[in-house]
Amino acid sequence: MTSETEINADPGAAENKKTSLNKPYFSTTDIIVISMFGALGIVIGILGNVLHGVSGLLFIGPFLLHTLLPGIVVFACAATVRKAGTATMYSLIVSLIAMPLMGVPLFIVMYVVQGLLIDGFTLAMKDRMWSRWGIIPAATVYGIAGILILYYVVLGASGLVFPEWVIIPSIPLNLVFAIPAALVGLQIGQRAITTLGG
C-alpha cells in the first residue's frame, strides 16, 4: 500500500517494505479494504441497476450509473491497495452479490473484464499507474471496454441489438464519465492511504 515514491521520500518506509503490507500478496488490511470497497460497490451496483431499470430508456443511465459511480469506487479501491488482482477481486465481490440480486447476472462479465483490464494496467505500469497521466490510459480502456461489453455482450446476449450510430458515439460519451471517475478515484485512493497510514 506504500508507493515507491513515498518509500523514497521517507527512509523509514524502506524498512516497511520488508513487512507484509508491501508484499505482492494481499495482507489482512488489503483484504478488508477491498471488502469495504466491495460493500460500497454492491450498494452502487444495486442503486445503478434499480435506477437504470426504472428509467428504462434514459440515455444518460449507462454512463452515469454503470461508469461514473462504479468507476470512482473501483479506481479508488485499486489506488488504495495498489496491488495486481485488487480490481478483479473487487469486481468479483460486487458482481457476484449485486448483479444476481438485481436479476442481471450477465453484468458479471462486464465487471470481471473491467477488473482484469485495470489489473493488467497495474501490472504493466507498476507505480507509474498512480499518477494523473498514468491512470488516464487505464480509464480510457475501462470506459471503452465498458461500452463494448454492455452493447455486444450484456445487451447482445439478451437479444437486444443496437445500430453502430448508437454504439460509436457512446464510446466518447462514456469516456467523458470514465476519465473523471478514475481521477476522482485516484484522489480518494491517495487520501485513503494517508488515512490508513495515520
Binding site: 489482512t28 471488502s35 426504472v54 447476472p105 476522482v184
Partner: protein
C-alpha cells in the same frame, strides 16, 4: 437503500433446497437464455423459470414489485428494439412512424433515419422473455435463500476461503455503509451544502470512503488478533447439505435443459 428483491422467510420445498441447487439453476438459466433463439422456446424457458417462483409462494407485495419490473423491462425492450432493430435478411420492416426522417438535415444523414417498426417492437417484446427468465431465476435464489446460506453454498462450491471472507465482509459492510451515508447526507443537508442530489453524491463520496477505510484498520487488527487465516481446516455455524428435493431438482433441471438445447439445435 436496500435491494428490491429480498429474502422472504417460508417453508416451501424451494426454500428447503440446497443453495447450490439454486445457484446452479441461475447459472443454467443464464446459459440457456443466451443460447436459445426461437421465440417459442424463450417463452417455454420463461414459464419454466416461473415454476419455482410459484412454488415458493411469493407474497403479494413482492409479486407487485416483480410485475412492476416485468412491465418496465417489456416497455424498455419493446421501445428500444422498435426503434433500433434492423433485420439482417428479408424485407425491410413495416414502419409505424418516423422519429428522425432520413431527410432530416445532419441527424437524418448520420443515422439513416430512425423509425419505429412493428417487427422491431415484436422482436423486442419477445426478447423481454429472455431477460425475464434470468430475472426469475435470480429472484428465486434471492427470495428463498438468506444471504448466509448463499455464502455457505458458495463455500461448498470450493471457493477459496479468503475470497469467501471478502464476500462475507462486504455483505456485512453494506448496512454500515448505508448508515454512514445517511449520517453524511444529513450533515450536508443541515449545512445547506447539497440540495441537488448529484451534488449530495459528489460531496458525500469522499468522506464516506475515508470513514470506512479508517474502520478497516481496526477490523484488520481484530482479524489478525484472532489468528485470521492460520488454520487450514475451519468449522462453520451454517452448513448446507443435499437432500431428496435437490436430487429431484437436479434431475428436472438436467432433463429440461437437455430438452431445450436439443429443440433449439433441431431448429
Amino acid at each position: 437503500m436496500r435491494p428490491i428483491f429480498q429474502f422472504v422467510d417460508g417453508d416451501t420445498s424451494v426454500h428447503r433446497l440446497d443453495p447450490r441447487t439454486k445457484i446452479l439453476w441461475l447459472g443454467i438459466v443464464t446459459i440457456l437464455a443466451i443460447l436459445i433463439q426461437r421465440p417459442d422456446l424463450l417463452l417455454a424457458l420463461f414459464f419454466l423459470t416461473l415454476v419455482p417462483l410459484v412454488i415458493s409462494r411469493v407474497p403479494m407485495h413482492q409479486l407487485r414489485l416483480i410485475l412492476f419490473f416485468y412491465t418496465f423491462i417489456f416497455i424498455g425492450t419493446t421501445i428500444s428494439q422498435g426503434f433500433f432493430y434492423q433485420p439482417l435478411t428479408g424485407p425491410p420492416p413495416d414502419v409505424l412512424f418516423w422519429l428522425i426522417p432520413p431527410d432530416t438535415p445532419l441527424l437524418g444523414a448520420f443515422t439513416g433515419g430512425v423509425s419505429f417498426t412493428l417487427q422491431g417492437a415484436l422482436y423486442g417484446f419477445i426478447q423481454g422473455f429472455r431477460i425475464l427468465s434470468m430475472l426469475n431465476a435470480s429472484v428465486t435464489l434471492v427470495m428463498t435463500t438468506p444471504v448466509n446460506r448463499i455464502m455457505a453454498g458458495l463455500r461448498e462450491l470450493r471457493l477459496p476461503f479468503t475470497f469467501m471472507f471478502m464476500l462475507t465482509t462486504a455483505v456485512r459492510f453494506v448496512p454500515t455503509i448505508i448508515e454512514e451515508y445517511r449520517t453524511i447526507a444529513n450533515a450536508l443537508k443541515v449545512r445547506g451544502v447539497a440540495k441537488n442530489p448529484l451534488r449530495l453524491v459528489q460531496y458525500s463520496m469522499s468522506p464516506l470512503i475515508l470513514n470506512s477505510v479508517r474502520r478497516c484498520s481496526q477490523l484488520a487488527l481484530a482479524a489478525e488478533s484472532r489468528a485470521f487465516g492460520s488454520l487450514a481446516e475451519r468449522t462453520y455455524y451454517t452448513s448446507v447439505k443435499f437432500g431428496t428435493g435437490d436430487r429431484v431438482s437436479w434431475t428436472c433441471i438436467g432433463i429440461s435443459s437437455v430438452l431445450l438445447v436439443w429443440l433449439s439445435l433441431a431448429g
